[in-house]
């Protein structure tokens, strides 16, 4: 056994050295830009797949070759992320994206070590405080998309009430959240506000899986919500668990990141998503042109970074499409605001002041008042969401 391994290893090492020698350690290819992407999971996660597909789309639009786009999948939120970034730099990447919140510290570490390479981290919060020139945060005002998806859900609830399937007070939405965290709370609240703007009697129950990707847990959570009387489910977690549970039970589902119509042809209603191709294109072309770009970018409905996926006509209530167009136009023009303080109450009162932890110095102390001009100014002071009010009236834990 030992000798065999020694032998195999010797051969392997020899070949390895040969590989070393033959490869001119790939520094800065003259034949154009090289782009790297670090993903927490792979294509099986709807969240990561959303990034991967967006980058492939941009690759096609910009005419990049396959060896100009390197995607590393299943990279943990650990030293492995730093190593992945460093290996991508070694491979000649000029710009590197990472998609998971926990990658942030390791991306900053890499950014400091390789100042000539641009590091772009989605969902992160620290570019404002770190002050590293080649380190960027990016997000999008996904709360607008969630609000719109909520409108579609509200239409569906109204349809159920009109048909007599449920009484108005039974219009309970179930929400499967990943973590009890601002990004999730912001998403669920905007979704709920969208639904309630259409169906005033709507309420919402929330449960958490404490994982971004856990098929079994997400499915179980969705079933728990359904069993406790929820008539429509939405989720902020990255597997197909919840949509499939809904399809089994025949309960309408509103998803995130990708269209789930193929998973639940009879129950998938619509999904909201961030179209990362907008940011990818902006950042990559900026590097190509040698220009600087924003260290804290927030895409929006208006610039196409926030989108709705295809509406499932089989499930949607009549008139949903028209209603969505109408609300979207109002959101884009600024006539309608998602977190308008007149539309919700917290502990029975309208919000006039709320401190959020916008400046992330690792102290977790809220310091910035984010109620401005009659709205909660989500994603305006920093791209990553900071709406962490648990919960506005009408929303409660399961």
């Amino acid at each position: 056994m030992k000798k065999i391994f020694a032998l195999v290893l010797a051969v392997v090492m020899l070949l390895g050295l040969a590989a070393c020698g033959s490869k001119s350690s790939g520094k800065k290819a003259e034949d154009g830009i090289k782009v790297g992407l670090i993903c927490l999971h792979d294509e099986n996660s709807t969240y990561d797949n959303n990034f991967i597909q967006a980058l492939k789309q941009v690759q096609e639009e910009l005419g990049l070759k396959d060896d100009q786009v390197l995607i590393k999948t299943n990279i943990d939120e650990s030293d492995a992320c730093y190593n992945a970034a460093a290996e991508l730099v070694d491979a000649g990447c000029d710009i590197i994206f990472a998609d998971s919140f926990g990658h942030e510290s390791f991306m900053i570490q890499a950014a400091k070590e390789f100042p000539d390479v641009q590091f772009c981290h989605a969902t992160g919060t620290k570019s404002l405080t770190e002050g590293v020139k080649n380190y960027h945060n990016a997000f999008a005002s996904i709360y607008e998309g969630r609000y719109l998806a909520g409108v579609a859900a509200g239409m569906k609830l109204n349809e159920m009430i009109e048909k007599g399937t449920i009484k108005p007070e039974e219009a309970v939405i179930g929400y499967v959240g990943a973590f009890n965290y601002a990004e999730v709370v912001s998403g669920m609240t905007s979704f709920f506000l969208g639904a309630r703007s259409i169906c005033p009697s709507a309420t919402m129950k929330v449960t958490y899986t404490n994982s971004w990707f856990d098929i079994a847990k997400e499915k179980e959570s969705a079933l728990n919500l359904i069993n406790s009387g929820c008539v429509l489910i939405s989720q902020h977690a990255d597997s197909e668990g919840a949509p499939k549970a809904c399809e089994e039970k025949g309960v309408p589902n509103v998803a995130y990141n990708i269209s789930t119509i193929s998973m639940g042809p009879n129950t998938a209603l619509i999904s909201s998503k961030i179209d990362w191709s907008v940011y990818f294109k902006l950042a990559i072309t900026a590097v190509q042109d040698g220009k600087e770009f924003d260290t804290d970018f927030c895409g929006s409905l208006k610039d196409g970074a926030v989108k709705l996926t295809e509406l499932n006509d089989k499930v949607a209530a009549a008139g949903t499409k028209e209603k969505l167009e109408e609300v979207q136009a109002k959101l884009e023009s600024g006539e309608l605001k998602v977190f308008d303080t007149k539309t919700f109450t917290y502990k029975g009162a309208e919000l006039t002041e709320y401190l959020a932890d916008v400046i992330d110095e690792g102290d977790f102390k809220p310091e910035t008042n984010v109620i401005e001009n009659g709205e909660f100014a989500e994603s305006q002071k920093r791209s990553a969401p900071y709406f962490d009010i648990k919960y506005i009236d009408g929303v409660s834990d399961l």
Partner: protein, 368 residues
């Protein structure tokens, strides 16, 4: 053929145990197994992708040896896996099935992270590192020795006990991250990123230098301990037969508990190296399944510490190679999981042919 039926029916084949296999035959069988595995893998690659299997194999090698950085990352991953394997080995030799290495590593890492989190910059780095080391090893020992005491005194099942302790460890880590990071994201982030307090310093210009060095020394120490110390011998005797051990006057309870102290301590040390020398943070995924992979590493090496260098490197080689072909060839990592599965299946399978001989019904009788 008809005559045969009158005789006592001889099975088409039967299996006998080999007692004296020549080393070169054992070698040959293993070589055949690896070649067969590579051929089957090649068939799989050709049938499900458009790639030339040699290109795939070459990429796997490149993923491990393609640059100095890749080489050291491979060494570092090997060192960590080897360290956990060294930890479980004495217990396994004693036939104490410690399935709790994952949890023992986690609590070790958690203890180190806690020291860093609470001490911040209040202590000089070298002192903090020593405290972290002590705390980690102690936590690992507690996590390892609890099931050992229950086994030694009340004869509880150690596999279940150690396995369940993993989940307690995972929940503990979740709990502390919730306490330390109140924003609910469950991400600890790098601790002391600015001051690097409590981080192991680089050695020979390599940030993993100390990790690799410590594990290398530990491997030699473990080899000597198992082969040349009285305690090592006691472990073997208890593993062969508890009754024999008792008969020759070995205190079995003491050996079980002492061995699990060692096992837990090394797991705790791994946790320390993962936090202080590698990640500088803690998460539920800190041990990353190594506690279980280590069982395979140790078993494949027949519990021999020196051989475990090769088996752990082999496993890491496959993992790193998998990542490389996923990135450069755009093949999903599941593809490389399949290849890893085939290779390990054949290697484990070859042991069967080394230990047993298959006898077919003799050709002469068939002819009659």
């Amino acid at each position: 053929m008809t005559n045969n039926e009158k005789h006592i029916k001889e099975p088409f084949m039967h299996i006998t145990k080999r007692t004296d296999i020549k080393p070169y035959i054992a070698w040959l069988i293993r070589l055949i197994a690896i070649v067969a595995a590579l051929i089957v893998s090649a068939l799989v690659i050709v049938s499900i992708t458009d790639y030339n299997p040699f290109e795939v194999y070459l990429k796997m090698i490149e993923g491990n040896f393609g640059s100095e950085r890749k080489f050291f990352i491979m060494l570092q991953n090997t060192a960590m896996l080897l360290c956990v394997s060294l930890a479980v080995t004495p217990a396994f030799k004693m036939k104490f099935w410690n399935l709790g290495a994952e949890g023992q590593v986690l609590v070790g890492g958690l203890a180190s992270a806690a020291c860093m989190f609470y001490a911040k910059d209040s202590l000089p780095s070298w002192l903090l590192i020593l405290i972290m080391l002590f705390a980690s090893v102690l936590s690992g020992i507690i996590w390892g020795v609890l099931p050992a005491v229950f086994k030694a005194v009340w004869r509880t099942n150690e596999s279940l006990f150690t396995l369940m302790m993993n989940y307690v460890a995972i929940q503990l880590v979740s709990f502390f991250i919730m306490v330390w990071v109140p924003n609910g994201s469950s991400v600890m982030g790098v601790i002391n990123q600015k001051s690097e307090n409590g981080w192991l310093p680089p050695v020979f210009g390599q940030k993993y230098g100390l990790n690799i060095l410590i594990v290398a020394i530990l491997t030699v120490v473990m080899y000597i301990y198992l082969h040349y110390s009285k305690q090592g011998y006691e472990i073997s005797v208890v593993g062969e037969s508890e009754n024999t051990a008792r008969y020759v006057g070995i205190n079995v309870k003491k050996v079980i508990i002492r061995t699990m102290v060692i096992s837990g301590a090394i797991c705790g040390l791994t946790g320390f190296l993962l936090v202080s020398g590698t990640n500088h943070t803690v998460s539920k995924e800190l041990a990353g399944g190594m506690g279980f992979t280590a069982i395979m590493v140790s078993w494949l090496a027949k519990f021999e510490p020196i051989m475990m260098i090769f088996t752990s490197m082999f496993i890491v080689f496959l993992q790193k190679g998998a990542g490389e072909i996923a990135m450069t060839l755009g093949l999903n990592e599941s593809v490389s999981d399949i290849l890893t599965g085939i290779l390990i299946f054949f290697i484990i399978g070859s042991e069967f042919f080394i230990n047993y001989k298959i006898n077919f019904r003799s050709a002469q009788k068939e002819a009659e």
